[in-house]
């Protein structure tokens, strides 16, 4: 029984702290700040400003996952972060989610560094039923800030790690370009298949089945795909 509980705890990436642990955790966060690690707000700004021609990200889900990948696949690779957990990412309804990123976004919007445009569209699900419609909510985030201005805040940190700005910018621009083209559907598919530990609580884990360890099972295929097949 005890073993099962331990197993469950190990599998669960949401941790519950007592007061002592929480204080230590917060102190650790403060210590990170003192080390001048890139903070979440600046990570968002770096991501939004990296492509000169179009400083925007469309869709909340895409932005949330792009920041996750920025931590996991770029900052971690450059030795600038321990990974997405540093930005508070946990497994949630739609894969990796961070309250901290969400809060930082709100702060940035209130500060005026990030512009947010929200819009929605309604689509009829059943043409014969006037009440059946599905609403899609979309958000577009953009910034006026320049990449260099945000980067310069951490000039010393980058110098300390021997990172060349152009190299860092090019890597990020290339990746961000790919993520943007994925839209939220593609990026979910990518994140779900590469980081399965973040989808254990996801409501969509069966909608974006992917190949884990090279095996596809019938129950991993979405109900939508199964219906289509039976038509």
């Amino acid at each position: 029984m005890m073993k099962r509980v331990i197993d469950m705890l190990e599998k669960d990436y949401n941790k519950v702290f007592n007061l002592k642990q929480a204080t230590a955790y917060i102190e650790n966060l403060d210590a990170n700040k003192a080390n001048k690690n890139i903070n979440v707000e600046d990570a968002i700004l770096l991501l939004l400003s990296v492509l000169d021609r179009n400083k925007q990200i469309i869709s909340r889900t895409l932005l949330m996952k792009a920041v996750f990948l920025f931590y996991e696949e770029i900052l971690k690779d450059f030795g600038l972060s321990k990974g997405a957990s540093e930005a508070g990412y946990i497994a949630y309804k739609y894969g990796p989610y961070s309250y901290q990123v969400n809060l930082s976004l709100i702060t940035l919007v209130l500060k005026g560094d990030v512009m947010l445009k929200e819009y929605h569209s309604k689509q009829k699900v059943d043409v014969n039923d006037i009440n059946s419609s599905k609403t899609h909510f979309l958000a577009s985030y953009s910034t006026n800030l320049n990449f260099e201005d945000v980067y310069n805040k951490y000039k010393d940190l980058f110098a300390q790690k021997h990172i060349n700005m152009q190299e860092f910018k090019n890597t990020l621009a290339k990746k961000k370009h790919g993520w943007d083209q994925d839209s939220y559907i593609g990026i979910l598919r990518y994140v779900y298949s590469k980081y399965p530990r973040y989808i254990n609580k996801s409501e969509l884990r069966d909608v974006y089945p992917d190949l884990f360890y090279g095996i596809i099972k019938e129950d991993k295929v979405s109900p939508y795909d199964r219906n289509k097949r039976s038509l």
Binding site: D52, I58, Q123, D182, S183, G214, R226
Partner: protein, 391 residues
């Protein structure tokens, strides 16, 4: 504002006795891009979302293609809500092409006879199209015939009203009407009022007069010639057609986006028929034709993604000549594998275009053509070939 500058005209290619000379343009949108370039079509973005990847497609110019049958066009002009359908399609494309420098709509009207009965009808069509294209950075005027407004006035008004106008023409048009159209466009180009012309593709041997006139009049003009709807490959050998058309003076070339597409239900056949771009000779070949080494070479850049297991499974089914027991899984692999092949063609195709663009500026272009033997053969001898309907 899109600023197009012709930067180089390659004289050295004359030595190859080319019938037509390639050219390179420098295009200043929000940043600079060089032609020839491969245009990314909306379906290629859709295919990218079908499998797990974070690949970057170089989409300097992207295009959303929409077909309007006669009834659809009628409905577009007379029913509420039809505009919304088109706008949603364009917006959905725009969300994925957000970093593309030039985003264009290609609206193909099938039969417009008797639809534009008054001048007001045409103007209404302009207004609807403008609002549908709000999220694009260009405005397209589709190719259609009307005698209610003289073509000259129509084009002039369009270029006057909209920023970054794109006027579409059709290579299948009757030669005299085509010539008149080109003459009007030439004036607009010279006066720097028009910088992009969209051209609906037709096979060379079916439209050689128009091809020739277009080349003669516009080859040395500062205008982006965007050729839309090119068949992906020639029949024999399976040379990539997209990489041939820069040598006929086109600056941006997009592959054909079919009007209707049906999924193949024979999944094994589908896996076997999936084609990839083989950069060594610019062939679009089926997966099973490649040798083990060649396959490795083609897939080298794509092996890092979590998608690798799909490639391996497809490869296993192809090698064993049988599907896995789970048919749903087989379908899943087949669909994803096909989507992957289109993205591979787009990424590697663009890489080759960049090489052509870079080399066309100097004599190194000759070396490139010498290396791609079938391309050279096609460029130098294509009008002597007896294979009508091939090009």
């Amino acid at each position: 504002m899109i600023e197009i500058k012709e930067v180089y005209e390659d004289d050295s290619v004359d030595r190859l006795k080319l019938r037509y000379r390639p050219r390179v343009l420098k295009i200043e949108a929000s940043s600079t891009l060089y032609t020839p370039t491969r245009v990314i079509v909306d379906t290629e973005y859709k295919n990218k979302t079908k499998f797990a990847n974070e690949l970057e497609i170089d989409d300097a110019i992207s295009i959303v293609v929409n077909y309007f049958e006669r009834e659809q066009l009628k409905s577009f002009l007379s029913h509420n809500g039809e505009l919304k359908k088109l706008k949603e399609k364009i917006d959905s494309f725009g969300r994925q092409a957000t970093d593309s420098k030039i985003r264009v709509l290609s609206l193909i009207l099938k039969n417009t006879e008797g639809i534009f009965n008054t001048k007001e009808d045409v103007e209404k069509f302009f207004r609807f199209l403008d609002s549908a294209q709000l999220n694009l950075n260009t405005r397209s005027l589709p190719y259609f015939k009307t005698d209610k407004i003289p073509t000259k006035k129509l084009y002039e008004d369009f270029c006057k009203t909209f920023e970054n106008p794109v006027i579409w023409i059709n290579l299948k048009e009757e030669p005299n009407a085509f010539k008149d159209r080109i003459d009007i466009l030439e004036t607009l180009i010279t006066e720097k009022r028009l910088q992009v012309i969209g051209i609906h593709y037709a096979k060379y041997y079916n439209a050689n007069i128009n091809y020739d006139y277009l080349y003669t009049r516009l080859h040395d003009k500062e205008v982006l010639l965007l050729l839309e709807g090119v068949d992906r490959k020639f029949k024999d050998p399976p040379l990539s057609a997209l990489h041939f058309y820069p040598y006929l003076s086109f600056d941006a070339i997009s592959p054909l986006r079919k009007q209707y597409g049906f999924g193949d239900t024979d999944y094994l056949k589908s896996i076997k028929n999936t084609t990839f771009l083989f950069r060594k000779n610019l062939f679009l070949e089926k997966f099973n034709i490649f040798s083990e080494t060649d396959r490795e070479e083609v897939l080298a850049d794509y092996k890092i993604s979590p998608f690798l297991s799909v490639i391996n499974q497809a490869e296993e089914m192809r090698r064993n000549d049988k599907l896995s027991k789970d048919l749903t899984a087989a379908r899943y692999v087949s669909d994803q594998f096909k989507a992957f092949s289109y993205v591979q063609q787009a990424i590697d195709g663009q890489k080759e275009m960049k090489i052509i663009s870079k080399l066309s500026k100097g004599s190194e272009g000759i070396t490139y053509i010498e290396e791609k033997k079938e391309l050279k053969k096609k460029i130098t001898n294509f009008d002597q070939e007896k294979m009508y309907n091939v090009i």
